[in-house]
């Protein structure tokens, strides 16, 4: 508030003799003016009180603040005596406009009327999002000329309805949903709106074309909204997990729920990828199968290893043909059946394959960025570290928890957290001694060295193990061992990698227990960091091995199918080890705790570790989509099974979390981790394969080409040959996509936008500090003014 509100100060005649403003020295005039003001306000307040009493008969005592002389307001006089005008002053203060919002219906309606009136009077219509997002009215924006504060409630409602009609329908319904009135009033407002809308007399003064347009626009938008509601109802009815999630959140709260919601998000991504691939690639290839060399019989082992009868199937890259399917000009194309079928459109399989993979990555990227945007919107707050205790009290209680035992645990958690916060704030005054700090730092350094050392050790171990397996397989190839031995060799590397990924996190937990970090949040971040580092470095090593063709597999000529099989095995092994970890980590541990150690405690659900497992599995899927187009389907099945198994194990074996967990903040962190190392890494790997790797000669849709990226170029050349008029079409890839200058320009723009946003954020932080200081100053001003009034009144009383 940079200017004071204007109020008329009625000063009696004798004070204006010299034309000066009344000053505190001119006691008589000032006192009488303030006295009069206070009296006027009191009478107004009395009238307002009566009006409010009529409206809200249930709170007759609400508008009179407690006349408690020992009330700890800052307005107490130094001696603590009760001032005769005290009660009136308090009453006036309690009825200030900034205090009555949310309470009095009249105030809410007036405020919303003013908002929409302001919207109408502006020439361009900004959306309601751009207005101040608080429900608190500001006196500056209070329209004093056409102030409906003294109108009756019904008048105010009709005024608001009239204003709402002038808004576009989308904003209108948003205002209707968000106005903090009771539902009956909202419904009556809506009825008034529809009545007014049906009477065209209201718009008689506006021009005819705009009236007709607005009417049609209204109808279309309303029709769309009804359709949207019907669609939403369908979607909600199709949600099979509503009650399962309610059960989980009722017993374990928002923190564990965030894992299952993350699982649901991943399921959505995979279903979209799978549908795209199914429609454009898999189904069509299934309709026109190529001639298969020698189909193997199906043994159960294929589900585990992915070789055998699965090798030449839709699952892998090698199956897909490199010709145009159903090409009427080609004579007997490979595998086409029934030439007597009516001519259908030819389908260029290589082009479709490449573009569908690119489209699925692009769609996933857009969805991920949209989820990240929403998460950040909800959870990122500028400068939020100062009000920890207050925030904890008002937002720590999870209203979703409904089970008695969980509620009891939640109370205990909050109690512990409050005690810890209090202790921490007192500890800040007495910091640790130098030797303690040194010891703490050395412990931290040692722990990190150990963690990094183990990561390096695991990577080296995986490298040497894969080399060993390579030699074993070559020996076996010469010796022609049994089928079981061959499968065993194939499964050994995925087994070792999954074993490391499962065991190392427990080791890191032990390390963290030894380390004893300062805050539980730091513990979680450190654990996530170490686990993520391990997983990503191992995946990096595996990617390098795949690209350099150091593979252990059966189809030697078709390296893409090999890589696809390897990834399939990794995905299946990951699933099996997740199950084993759930079984041993939760079920067995609970039995041991109960039976052997006779303790009441149960294992806890390690949210961070489980989410990182999900991210790892999803990275494997994204890495493998190019080589095994049905891998998203496998991942969908895996996630579905995982949901039910994890939920059952959670309900049977685990207890509510005992440590604080900021659910929305951590959800943002996880979705960022899903984007940044996981998705981007997979995208880089696939892009590299498409741009630089030479596809194999004998299999797959890109055989014979130099790189996969040449496919659209070949197609464009074909187009040019067939129709020279569209030669300009080849201009696009040459000058836009391959030209480095254009790409630099694009990245320059992106960097400039990021820098601009950072500066805007910095400026907003500064403004927040300034505004907080201003509010504190206004509070001091108010106290000063009231004390001045009281002291002047006292002097007047004593003088008189």
């Amino acid at each position: 508030m940079s200017q004071l509100p204007a109020f008329t100060l009625r000063v009696p005649e004798n004070a204006e003799s010299d034309g000066q403003e009344p000053s505190p020295d001119n006691e008589g005039a000032l006192h009488s003016s303030f006295c009069q003001l206070i009296e006027e306000q009191s009478s107004l307040v009395a009238g307002a009180i009566e009006m409010e009493l009529q409206e809200r008969s249930r709170e007759p005592s609400a508008l009179l603040p407690p006349l408690d002389p020992i009330a700890s307001t800052g307005l107490e006089l130094e001696q603590g005596e009760q001032h005769p005008g005290y009660a009136t002053t308090l009453r006036i203060l309690a009825n200030m406009p900034s205090r009555t919002i949310g309470r009095s219906r009249g105030a809410i309606i007036s405020q919303y009327y003013n908002r929409t009136a302001r919207l109408r009077r502006r020439s361009s219509r900004p959306s309601l999002q751009q207005l101040n997002r608080t429900a608190r009215p500001s006196l500056r924006q209070y329209d004093l000329e056409s102030d409906p504060a003294h109108a009756t409630l019904a008048d105010k409602q009709s005024l608001l309805a009239k204003e709402l009609l002038s808004l576009p329908p989308a904003q209108r319904s948003q205002v209707l949903m968000e106005v903090p009135l009771s539902l009956e009033e909202k419904r009556s407002l809506r009825r008034q709106l529809s009545q007014k809308r049906s009477t065209p007399g209201l718009r008689a003064h506006s021009a005819e074309p705009t009236f007709a347009c607005a009417c049609w626009q209204d109808c279309i938008v309303l029709g769309c909204r009804t359709l949207w509601y019907r669609f939403l109802a369908l979607v909600h009815a199709a949600q099979p997990w509503h009650y399962a999630l309610k059960q989980i959140s009722g017993r374990f709260g928002s923190s564990v729920l965030s894992y299952f919601l993350f699982l649901k998000t991943l399921l959505l991504f995979n279903i979209i990828s799978f549908l795209l691939l199914l429609v454009f690639v898999v189904a069509l290839q299934a309709a026109y199968p190529p001639a298969v060399a020698s189909p193997h019989p199906f043994t159960g082992l294929e589900l585990l290893t992915g070789v055998g009868s699965f090798t030449h199937s839709l699952l892998y890259y090698g199956y897909y043909s490199n010709t145009t399917l159903n090409d009427p000009s080609a004579s007997s194309p490979s595998g086409s059946t029934s030439p007597s079928r009516a001519t259908q459109l030819p389908y260029n399989m290589p082009l479709a394959y490449m573009f569908t993979i690119a489209a699925s990555f692009f769609a996933t990227c857009i969805l991920l960025m949209y989820s990240m945007y929403h998460s950040f919107l909800k959870s990122y707050r500028v400068g939020s570290s100062t009000r920890v205790l207050a925030i904890k009290i008002f937002s720590a209680w999870d209203f979703k928890v409904v089970q008695r035992h969980s509620v009891k645990l939640q109370s205990e958690n909050i109690c512990t957290q409050l005690k810890e916060l209090l202790a921490e704030q007192q500890l800040r005054s007495c910091p640790l001694s130098l030797s303690q700090r040194l010891r703490h730092i050395t412990v931290l350094l040692l722990a990190w060295l150990l963690a990094l050392g183990t990561v390096l050790g695991c990577v080296v171990a995986v490298y040497y193990f894969s080399e060993h397996m390579h030699t074993v397989q070559q020996e076996q190839g010469a010796a022609a061992g049994s089928a079981w031995q061959q499968e065993g060799v194939l499964l050994a590397l995925p087994l070792i990698v999954s074993l490391l990924n499962t065991l190392m996190p427990h080791f890191y937990n032990l390390l963290a227990a030894w380390e004893k970090q300062d805050s539980p949040e730091a513990e979680v971040y450190v654990a996530i960091c170490r686990n993520l580092l391990l997983k990503m470095v191992i995946l990096g090593l595996l990617c390098y091995q795949w690209l350099s063709r150091r593979l252990i597999c059966s189809a030697k000529e078709c390296w893409e199918t090999c890589v696809g099989q390897d990834l399939y095995r990794f995905v299946v092994m990951d699933f099996i080890f997740t199950l084993l970890d759930t079984g041993f980590g939760e079920l067995l541990w609970r039995l041991i705790l109960e039976k052997k150690l006779k303790s009441k405690r149960r294992p806890e659900f390690d949210i961070a570790q489980n989410v990182l497992e999900l991210i790892y599995g999803q990275t494997l899927t994204w890495l493998g989509v190019l080589f095994a187009p049905l891998l998203p389907a496998v991942q969908v099945l895996k996630l579905l099974l995982l949901f039910y198994i994890k939920k059952t194990s959670l309900m049977q074996n685990c207890q509510s979390p005992s440590k604080p967990w900021q659910a929305s903040h951590m959800s943002t962190v996880f979705i960022t981790l899903l984007f940044f190392p996981s998705f981007l890494g997979a995208a880089i790997f696939v892009s590299y394969t498409i741009w630089w790797e030479k596809p194999s000669e004998t299999c797959g849709p890109f055989r014979g080409l130099q790189t996969i990226y040449q496919t659209p170029k070949v197609w464009v050349e074909l187009l040019e040959e067939s129709n020279p008029n569209i030669a300009w079409f080849s201009w696009i890839p040459q000058y836009l996509v391959e030209n480095t200058v254009f790409l630099f320009f694009l990245s320059g723009i992106v960097l400039a936008v990021i820098y601009f946003n950072i500066q805007v954020l910095r400026g907003q932080r500064r403004i927040i500090c300034l505004l907080e200081e201003q509010i504190a100053n206004e509070g001091e001003d108010k106290k000063f003014l009231i004390q001045k009034i009281h002291s002047i009144y006292d002097r007047k009383v004593h003088c008189a």
Binding site: R58, G74, G102, S182, K186, R387, D398, F399
Partner: protein, 187 residues
């Protein structure tokens, strides 16, 4: 959606959809829940908007509210007649504000009403003490409670009157990223 229901007219269901954050199916489900709390009192036919209110005792025994320490205050904040009895409109309103889609500002208004135990438009020290006692089931000692209340008022009170007005409360809630996910009841 094709199946004929006789509980509400289409116009009523559209009004509910426009004024709350629920879809038709959810409104019907809510009516089912409201009805099963008192099958003899709540009619199945709501086409004439009958004036039926359920007392607070029935509502706070719902499984979603039974163990919540603030259940009485929640029901009182949404009740129109001041005694805590909810009509069906109030019932839907309550779960609409507590649903996932309600915006932060709306939730902040009602959260302020809930934590304001003596309904004086301020969250004063007494209100804070009651809130703390309900949160921790009176596990904190008296001096810890006083200390916490003082610190909270120190942190959140911006204009120096020793209590939290709605402006202070809303400013603090806007800095709390978890508020939206914790102030949420699934029905």
């Amino acid at each position: 959606m094709g199946n004929k229901q006789t509980i509400f007219t289409d116009e009523q269901l559209d009004a509910y959809q426009d004024c709350t954050f629920f879809t038709r199916k959810e409104i019907l489900r809510l009516h089912g829940r409201y009805h099963e709390m008192a099958p003899n009192v709540v009619p199945m036919d709501y086409t004439k908007d009958p004036d039926v209110k359920l007392p607070m005792q029935l509502i706070i025994n719902m499984p979603e509210l039974k163990e919540n320490p603030f259940r009485e205050r929640i029901v009182e904040s949404f009740s129109e007649d001041g005694e805590g009895s909810l009509s069906f409109n109030d019932f839907v309103d309550m779960f609409s504000v507590l649903s996932e889609m309600a915006p932060r500002e709306l939730k902040a208004i009602y959260a302020f009403k809930i934590y304001d135990f003596n309904t004086d438009n301020f969250i004063c020290k007494a209100d804070l003490e009651k809130t703390l006692n309900k949160l921790t089931r009176e596990e904190l000692t008296a001096e810890e409670i006083t200390l916490v209340c003082e610190k909270v008022i120190e942190e959140a009170d911006m204009d120096g009157d020793g209590k939290l007005g709605f402006a202070d409360f809303e400013n603090m809630i806007s800095k709390a990223p978890d508020f939206l996910s914790t102030f949420h009841i699934r029905i």
